[in-house]
Symmetry: C2
Subunit: 211 residues, 2 copies
Amino acid sequence: MTMKLHCFGESGHSYKVAMALSMMDIEWEPVFVDFFKGASRSPEYRDLNIMGEAPVLQDGDLTLTQSGVILDYLSSKTGKMGGRSADARREVLRWMFFDNHKVSSIAGILRFQMNFLPEEKRNADVIGFLSARLAGALKTLDDQLTNHAWLAGDDITVADLSCAGYLFYPEAFTFDRKDYPHIDRWLDAIAAQPGWKPPYDLMQPAFAAPA
Amino acid sequence: MTMKLHCFGESGHSYKVAMALSMMDIEWEPVFVDFFKGASRSPEYRDLNIMGEAPVLQDGDLTLTQSGVILDYLSSKTGKMGGRSADARREVLRWMFFDNHKVSSIAGILRFQMNFLPEEKRNADVIGFLSARLAGALKTLDDQLTNHAWLAGDDITVADLSCAGYLFYPEAFTFDRKDYPHIDRWLDAIAAQPGWKPPYDLMQPAFAAPA
Protein backbone atom coordinates (compact mmCIF):
# COMPACT_ATOMS: atom_id res chain seq x y z
CA MET A 1 0.00 0.00 0.00
CA THR A 2 1.24 3.51 -0.84
CA MET A 3 2.47 5.35 2.23
CA LYS A 4 1.24 8.92 2.76
CA LEU A 5 3.53 11.64 4.08
CA HIS A 6 1.86 14.78 5.43
CA CYS A 7 4.53 17.37 4.70
CA PHE A 8 5.49 20.68 3.13
CA GLY A 9 8.62 21.63 1.26
CA GLU A 10 10.24 23.94 3.79
CA SER A 11 10.00 21.39 6.61
CA GLY A 12 13.45 19.91 7.07
CA HIS A 13 11.99 17.22 9.31
CA SER A 14 9.63 16.25 6.49
CA TYR A 15 12.50 16.32 4.04
CA LYS A 16 14.51 13.79 6.07
CA VAL A 17 11.64 11.33 5.71
CA ALA A 18 10.91 12.17 2.06
CA MET A 19 14.62 11.58 1.28
CA ALA A 20 14.50 8.22 3.07
CA LEU A 21 11.33 7.14 1.25
CA SER A 22 12.88 8.08 -2.09
CA MET A 23 16.29 6.54 -1.37
CA MET A 24 14.74 3.33 0.05
CA ASP A 25 12.59 3.08 -3.09
CA ILE A 26 9.32 2.94 -1.13
CA GLU A 27 5.99 3.75 -2.80
CA TRP A 28 4.73 6.97 -1.21
CA GLU A 29 2.86 10.16 -1.93
CA PRO A 30 3.03 13.58 -0.27
CA VAL A 31 -0.08 15.12 1.33
CA PHE A 32 0.48 18.87 1.35
CA VAL A 33 0.21 20.69 4.71
CA ASP A 34 -0.30 24.41 4.21
CA PHE A 35 1.76 25.12 7.30
CA PHE A 36 2.28 28.87 7.13
CA LYS A 37 -1.47 29.33 6.70
CA GLY A 38 -2.11 27.45 9.94
CA ALA A 39 -3.14 24.06 8.52
CA SER A 40 -1.32 22.23 11.31
CA ARG A 41 -3.29 24.12 13.95
CA SER A 42 -6.70 22.83 12.83
CA PRO A 43 -8.59 20.41 15.12
CA GLU A 44 -8.41 17.76 12.36
CA TYR A 45 -4.65 18.04 12.15
CA ARG A 46 -4.31 18.00 15.95
CA ASP A 47 -6.28 14.73 15.94
CA LEU A 48 -3.67 13.37 13.55
CA ASN A 49 -0.75 14.81 15.54
CA ILE A 50 -1.30 16.63 18.83
CA MET A 51 2.20 18.08 18.44
CA GLY A 52 0.93 20.12 15.47
CA GLU A 53 4.02 19.36 13.44
CA ALA A 54 4.96 17.88 10.10
CA PRO A 55 5.80 15.24 9.05
CA VAL A 56 3.15 12.61 9.78
CA LEU A 57 3.54 9.25 8.07
CA GLN A 58 0.58 6.97 7.42
CA ASP A 59 1.40 3.38 6.52
CA GLY A 60 -1.94 1.59 6.30
CA ASP A 61 -3.51 1.87 9.76
CA LEU A 62 -0.29 2.99 11.39
CA THR A 63 0.20 6.73 12.00
CA LEU A 64 3.65 7.91 13.06
CA THR A 65 5.08 11.30 13.94
CA GLN A 66 8.56 12.65 14.80
CA SER A 67 11.08 12.22 12.01
CA GLY A 68 13.42 10.21 14.27
CA VAL A 69 10.71 7.66 15.00
CA ILE A 70 9.64 7.46 11.36
CA LEU A 71 13.23 7.01 10.12
CA ASP A 72 13.81 4.26 12.70
CA TYR A 73 10.57 2.58 11.57
CA LEU A 74 11.41 2.77 7.87
CA SER A 75 14.89 1.35 8.35
CA SER A 76 13.53 -1.49 10.50
CA LYS A 77 10.78 -2.24 7.99
CA THR A 78 13.03 -2.27 4.91
CA GLY A 79 16.32 -3.42 6.47
CA LYS A 80 17.95 -0.44 4.76
CA MET A 81 20.03 2.40 6.22
CA GLY A 82 19.73 1.25 9.80
CA GLY A 83 21.88 -0.36 12.42
CA ARG A 84 21.37 -4.13 12.29
CA SER A 85 22.46 -4.92 15.86
CA ALA A 86 21.11 -3.35 19.06
CA ASP A 87 24.44 -1.54 19.49
CA ALA A 88 24.40 -0.20 15.93
CA ARG A 89 20.78 0.88 16.24
CA ARG A 90 21.61 2.79 19.42
CA GLU A 91 24.45 4.58 17.63
CA VAL A 92 21.96 5.63 14.91
CA LEU A 93 19.46 6.83 17.51
CA ARG A 94 22.24 8.71 19.29
CA TRP A 95 22.95 10.91 16.27
CA MET A 96 19.25 11.38 15.59
CA PHE A 97 18.77 12.64 19.16
CA PHE A 98 21.77 14.93 18.77
CA ASP A 99 20.25 16.22 15.55
CA ASN A 100 16.87 16.92 17.14
CA HIS A 101 18.46 18.52 20.16
CA LYS A 102 21.15 20.68 18.57
CA VAL A 103 21.13 20.71 14.77
CA SER A 104 17.68 20.67 13.19
CA SER A 105 15.92 22.31 16.13
CA ILE A 106 18.20 25.34 15.79
CA ALA A 107 18.65 25.35 11.99
CA GLY A 108 14.88 25.26 11.52
CA ILE A 109 14.05 28.29 13.65
CA LEU A 110 17.11 30.20 12.41
CA ARG A 111 16.13 29.67 8.77
CA PHE A 112 12.57 30.69 9.65
CA GLN A 113 13.80 33.88 11.32
CA MET A 114 16.04 34.80 8.40
CA ASN A 115 13.74 33.93 5.51
CA PHE A 116 10.07 33.40 6.31
CA LEU A 117 9.41 35.89 9.09
CA PRO A 118 8.47 39.39 7.87
CA GLU A 119 11.62 41.55 7.91
CA GLU A 120 10.30 43.94 10.54
CA LYS A 121 9.89 41.05 12.98
CA ARG A 122 13.39 39.65 12.60
CA ASN A 123 15.68 40.11 15.56
CA ALA A 124 19.45 40.39 15.10
CA ASP A 125 20.22 39.27 18.67
CA VAL A 126 18.09 36.15 18.31
CA ILE A 127 19.66 35.38 14.93
CA GLY A 128 23.15 35.85 16.38
CA PHE A 129 22.40 33.62 19.35
CA LEU A 130 20.93 30.82 17.22
CA SER A 131 23.74 31.12 14.71
CA ALA A 132 26.41 30.59 17.39
CA ARG A 133 24.51 27.58 18.76
CA LEU A 134 24.24 26.05 15.31
CA ALA A 135 27.94 26.59 14.59
CA GLY A 136 28.85 24.64 17.73
CA ALA A 137 26.67 21.70 16.71
CA LEU A 138 27.99 21.72 13.14
CA LYS A 139 31.55 21.68 14.52
CA THR A 140 30.69 18.44 16.33
CA LEU A 141 29.35 16.91 13.10
CA ASP A 142 32.44 18.03 11.22
CA ASP A 143 34.69 16.56 13.94
CA GLN A 144 32.91 13.22 13.77
CA LEU A 145 33.18 13.20 9.97
CA THR A 146 36.92 13.94 10.07
CA ASN A 147 37.71 10.27 10.42
CA HIS A 148 34.35 8.65 9.70
CA ALA A 149 32.82 8.44 6.22
CA TRP A 150 29.33 8.37 7.79
CA LEU A 151 28.07 9.52 11.16
CA ALA A 152 26.95 6.27 12.74
CA GLY A 153 28.80 3.33 11.26
CA ASP A 154 30.61 2.08 8.17
CA ASP A 155 27.76 2.78 5.82
CA ILE A 156 25.10 5.42 5.31
CA THR A 157 22.24 5.28 7.83
CA VAL A 158 19.12 7.28 8.58
CA ALA A 159 21.25 9.19 11.12
CA ASP A 160 23.02 10.79 8.15
CA LEU A 161 19.70 11.76 6.57
CA SER A 162 18.48 13.19 9.87
CA CYS A 163 21.52 15.37 10.54
CA ALA A 164 21.85 16.45 6.90
CA GLY A 165 18.20 17.31 6.28
CA TYR A 166 18.29 21.05 6.85
CA LEU A 167 21.79 21.41 5.36
CA PHE A 168 20.49 20.74 1.84
CA TYR A 169 18.22 23.80 1.78
CA PRO A 170 19.12 26.75 -0.43
CA GLU A 171 17.93 29.54 1.89
CA ALA A 172 20.49 31.40 4.02
CA PHE A 173 20.80 30.38 7.65
CA THR A 174 24.48 31.27 8.33
CA PHE A 175 25.67 27.82 7.20
CA ASP A 176 28.40 27.82 4.57
CA ARG A 177 29.74 24.48 3.39
CA LYS A 178 33.21 25.98 2.93
CA ASP A 179 33.53 26.39 6.70
CA TYR A 180 33.03 22.65 7.26
CA PRO A 181 35.10 20.61 4.77
CA HIS A 182 34.07 17.21 6.13
CA ILE A 183 30.37 18.13 6.16
CA ASP A 184 30.82 19.38 2.59
CA ARG A 185 32.28 16.05 1.43
CA TRP A 186 29.62 14.08 3.34
CA LEU A 187 26.71 16.07 1.85
CA ASP A 188 28.10 15.34 -1.63
CA ALA A 189 28.32 11.65 -0.75
CA ILE A 190 24.68 11.60 0.40
CA ALA A 191 23.54 13.47 -2.73
CA ALA A 192 25.37 10.90 -4.89
CA GLN A 193 23.24 8.02 -3.52
CA PRO A 194 20.55 6.47 -5.76
CA GLY A 195 17.17 8.11 -5.23
CA TRP A 196 18.45 11.30 -3.60
CA LYS A 197 16.66 14.50 -4.59
CA PRO A 198 16.71 18.06 -3.23
CA PRO A 199 13.85 19.17 -0.94
CA TYR A 200 11.66 21.08 -3.38
CA ASP A 201 11.81 18.24 -5.91
CA LEU A 202 10.15 15.94 -3.38
CA MET A 203 7.64 18.23 -1.67
CA GLN A 204 5.59 21.32 -2.50
CA PRO A 205 6.72 24.53 -0.76
CA ALA A 206 4.20 26.31 1.48
CA PHE A 207 5.76 29.75 1.44
CA ALA A 208 4.83 32.16 -1.32
CA ALA A 209 7.46 34.88 -1.53
CA PRO A 210 5.89 38.37 -1.33
CA ALA A 211 5.54 39.96 -4.78
CA MET B 1 28.39 -4.19 38.22
CA THR B 2 27.77 -0.62 39.38
CA MET B 3 26.88 1.68 36.48
CA LYS B 4 28.70 5.03 36.27
CA LEU B 5 26.92 8.20 35.22
CA HIS B 6 29.11 11.13 34.14
CA CYS B 7 26.95 14.06 35.12
CA PHE B 8 26.52 17.34 36.98
CA GLY B 9 23.60 18.63 38.97
CA GLU B 10 22.41 21.40 36.66
CA SER B 11 22.25 19.11 33.63
CA GLY B 12 18.60 18.29 33.06
CA HIS B 13 19.59 15.61 30.57
CA SER B 14 21.73 13.99 33.27
CA TYR B 15 18.90 14.32 35.75
CA LYS B 16 16.49 12.37 33.52
CA VAL B 17 18.90 9.43 33.62
CA ALA B 18 19.73 9.81 37.33
CA MET B 19 15.99 9.80 38.08
CA ALA B 20 15.54 6.64 35.99
CA LEU B 21 18.46 4.87 37.69
CA SER B 22 17.08 5.75 41.11
CA MET B 23 13.45 4.89 40.28
CA MET B 24 14.44 1.61 38.57
CA ASP B 25 16.49 0.71 41.66
CA ILE B 26 19.70 0.19 39.67
CA GLU B 27 23.11 0.26 41.38
CA TRP B 28 24.91 3.36 40.09
CA GLU B 29 27.28 6.11 41.07
CA PRO B 30 27.72 9.64 39.73
CA VAL B 31 31.05 10.76 38.24
CA PHE B 32 31.15 14.53 38.56
CA VAL B 33 31.75 16.56 35.37
CA ASP B 34 32.91 20.09 36.21
CA PHE B 35 31.01 21.42 33.21
CA PHE B 36 31.13 25.18 33.71
CA LYS B 37 34.92 24.95 34.16
CA GLY B 38 35.25 23.30 30.74
CA ALA B 39 35.68 19.65 31.84
CA SER B 40 33.58 18.42 28.92
CA ARG B 41 35.87 20.19 26.44
CA SER B 42 39.01 18.23 27.42
CA PRO B 43 40.47 15.74 24.90
CA GLU B 44 39.83 12.92 27.42
CA TYR B 45 36.16 13.81 27.68
CA ARG B 46 35.84 14.17 23.90
CA ASP B 47 37.22 10.62 23.60
CA LEU B 48 34.40 9.52 25.88
CA ASN B 49 31.79 11.63 24.06
CA ILE B 50 32.67 13.60 20.94
CA MET B 51 29.46 15.59 21.48
CA GLY B 52 31.04 17.12 24.61
CA GLU B 53 27.85 16.70 26.60
CA ALA B 54 26.63 15.12 29.80
CA PRO B 55 25.36 12.57 30.59
CA VAL B 56 27.51 9.61 29.62
CA LEU B 57 26.53 6.22 31.02
CA GLN B 58 29.06 3.42 31.44
CA ASP B 59 27.64 -0.05 32.02
CA GLY B 60 30.63 -2.39 32.05
CA ASP B 61 32.26 -2.07 28.62
CA LEU B 62 29.30 -0.27 27.13
CA THR B 63 29.43 3.53 26.86
CA LEU B 64 26.24 5.37 25.94
CA THR B 65 25.42 9.03 25.38
CA GLN B 66 22.24 11.02 24.68
CA SER B 67 19.66 10.78 27.44
CA GLY B 68 17.04 9.42 25.01
CA VAL B 69 19.27 6.51 24.04
CA ILE B 70 20.25 5.80 27.64
CA LEU B 71 16.63 5.87 28.85
CA ASP B 72 15.62 3.51 26.04
CA TYR B 73 18.51 1.20 26.99
CA LEU B 74 17.68 1.18 30.70
CA SER B 75 14.01 0.44 30.12
CA SER B 76 14.88 -2.39 27.70
CA LYS B 77 17.44 -3.83 30.12
CA THR B 78 15.20 -3.74 33.20
CA GLY B 79 11.80 -4.17 31.58
CA LYS B 80 10.67 -1.12 33.56
CA MET B 81 9.12 2.15 32.37
CA GLY B 82 9.26 1.29 28.71
CA GLY B 83 6.88 0.33 25.98
CA ARG B 84 6.71 -3.46 25.78
CA SER B 85 5.52 -3.75 22.15
CA ALA B 86 7.16 -2.16 19.09
CA ASP B 87 4.19 0.23 18.85
CA ALA B 88 4.44 1.21 22.51
CA ARG B 89 8.20 1.70 22.27
CA ARG B 90 7.71 4.00 19.29
CA GLU B 91 5.23 6.08 21.26
CA VAL B 92 7.82 6.44 24.04
CA LEU B 93 10.52 7.41 21.54
CA ARG B 94 8.12 9.89 19.96
CA TRP B 95 7.76 11.90 23.16
CA MET B 96 11.49 11.69 23.85
CA PHE B 97 12.20 13.15 20.40
CA PHE B 98 9.62 15.88 21.03
CA ASP B 99 11.33 16.60 24.34
CA ASN B 100 14.79 16.85 22.79
CA HIS B 101 13.52 18.96 19.94
CA LYS B 102 11.23 21.39 21.73
CA VAL B 103 11.21 21.08 25.52
CA SER B 104 14.62 20.30 27.07
CA SER B 105 16.64 21.88 24.27
CA ILE B 106 14.91 25.21 24.91
CA ALA B 107 14.43 24.95 28.68
CA GLY B 108 18.14 24.20 29.12
CA ILE B 109 19.48 27.20 27.27
CA LEU B 110 16.79 29.49 28.69
CA ARG B 111 17.64 28.47 32.26
CA PHE B 112 21.33 28.96 31.46
CA GLN B 113 20.66 32.46 30.08
CA MET B 114 18.58 33.46 33.09
CA ASN B 115 20.69 31.96 35.87
CA PHE B 116 24.23 30.88 35.01
CA LEU B 117 25.31 33.46 32.44
CA PRO B 118 26.82 36.63 33.97
CA GLU B 119 24.10 39.28 34.15
CA GLU B 120 25.83 41.65 31.72
CA LYS B 121 25.74 38.95 29.03
CA ARG B 122 22.04 38.15 29.35
CA ASN B 123 19.90 39.26 26.45
CA ALA B 124 16.23 40.14 26.95
CA ASP B 125 15.31 39.48 23.31
CA VAL B 126 16.88 36.04 23.36
CA ILE B 127 15.17 35.24 26.67
CA GLY B 128 11.82 36.42 25.29
CA PHE B 129 12.21 34.37 22.13
CA LEU B 130 13.15 31.18 23.98
CA SER B 131 10.42 31.72 26.54
CA ALA B 132 7.72 31.90 23.83
CA ARG B 133 9.10 28.74 22.18
CA LEU B 134 9.06 26.89 25.49
CA ALA B 135 5.51 27.99 26.28
CA GLY B 136 4.32 26.51 22.98
CA ALA B 137 5.95 23.17 23.73
CA LEU B 138 4.62 23.09 27.28
CA LYS B 139 1.12 23.77 25.95
CA THR B 140 1.43 20.62 23.83
CA LEU B 141 2.46 18.60 26.89
CA ASP B 142 -0.41 20.06 28.90
CA ASP B 143 -2.85 19.25 26.07
CA GLN B 144 -1.67 15.65 25.93
CA LEU B 145 -1.96 15.32 29.71
CA THR B 146 -5.52 16.70 29.71
CA ASN B 147 -6.92 13.26 29.04
CA HIS B 148 -3.90 11.05 29.59
CA ALA B 149 -2.46 10.26 33.02
CA TRP B 150 0.97 9.73 31.44
CA LEU B 151 2.44 10.95 28.17
CA ALA B 152 3.00 7.71 26.29
CA GLY B 153 0.68 5.02 27.52
CA ASP B 154 -1.35 3.80 30.50
CA ASP B 155 1.56 3.80 32.88
CA ILE B 156 4.62 5.90 33.60
CA THR B 157 7.44 5.50 31.06
CA VAL B 158 10.86 7.00 30.47
CA ALA B 159 9.11 9.46 28.13
CA ASP B 160 7.61 11.07 31.24
CA LEU B 161 11.05 11.31 32.88
CA SER B 162 12.51 12.80 29.70
CA CYS B 163 9.89 15.51 29.26
CA ALA B 164 9.72 16.30 33.00
CA GLY B 165 13.48 16.48 33.64
CA TYR B 166 14.01 20.21 33.41
CA LEU B 167 10.63 21.02 34.95
CA PHE B 168 11.76 19.83 38.39
CA TYR B 169 14.52 22.44 38.71
CA PRO B 170 14.12 25.29 41.20
CA GLU B 171 15.79 28.03 39.10
CA ALA B 172 13.60 30.48 37.18
CA PHE B 173 13.12 29.84 33.47
CA THR B 174 9.67 31.42 32.92
CA PHE B 175 7.91 28.13 33.72
CA ASP B 176 5.20 28.36 36.37
CA ARG B 177 3.29 25.20 37.26
CA LYS B 178 0.14 27.23 37.88
CA ASP B 179 -0.07 28.04 34.16
CA TYR B 180 -0.22 24.33 33.27
CA PRO B 181 -2.63 22.45 35.58
CA HIS B 182 -2.18 19.08 33.91
CA ILE B 183 1.60 19.34 33.95
CA ASP B 184 1.36 20.32 37.60
CA ARG B 185 -0.67 17.21 38.48
CA TRP B 186 1.62 14.99 36.38
CA LEU B 187 4.84 16.30 38.02
CA ASP B 188 3.32 15.53 41.43
CA ALA B 189 2.48 12.01 40.22
CA ILE B 190 6.06 11.44 39.05
CA ALA B 191 7.48 12.78 42.31
CA ALA B 192 5.24 10.39 44.26
CA GLN B 193 6.83 7.32 42.63
CA PRO B 194 9.21 5.16 44.69
CA GLY B 195 12.84 6.21 44.27
CA TRP B 196 12.12 9.71 42.96
CA LYS B 197 14.42 12.47 44.23
CA PRO B 198 14.98 16.09 43.19
CA PRO B 199 18.01 16.92 40.98
CA TYR B 200 20.49 18.18 43.56
CA ASP B 201 19.84 15.21 45.84
CA LEU B 202 21.09 12.89 43.09
CA MET B 203 23.98 14.86 41.57
CA GLN B 204 26.51 17.47 42.68
CA PRO B 205 25.95 20.97 41.22
CA ALA B 206 28.76 22.47 39.12
CA PHE B 207 27.80 26.11 39.50
CA ALA B 208 29.10 28.07 42.43
CA ALA B 209 27.01 31.19 42.92
CA PRO B 210 29.20 34.32 43.01
CA ALA B 211 29.80 35.55 46.59
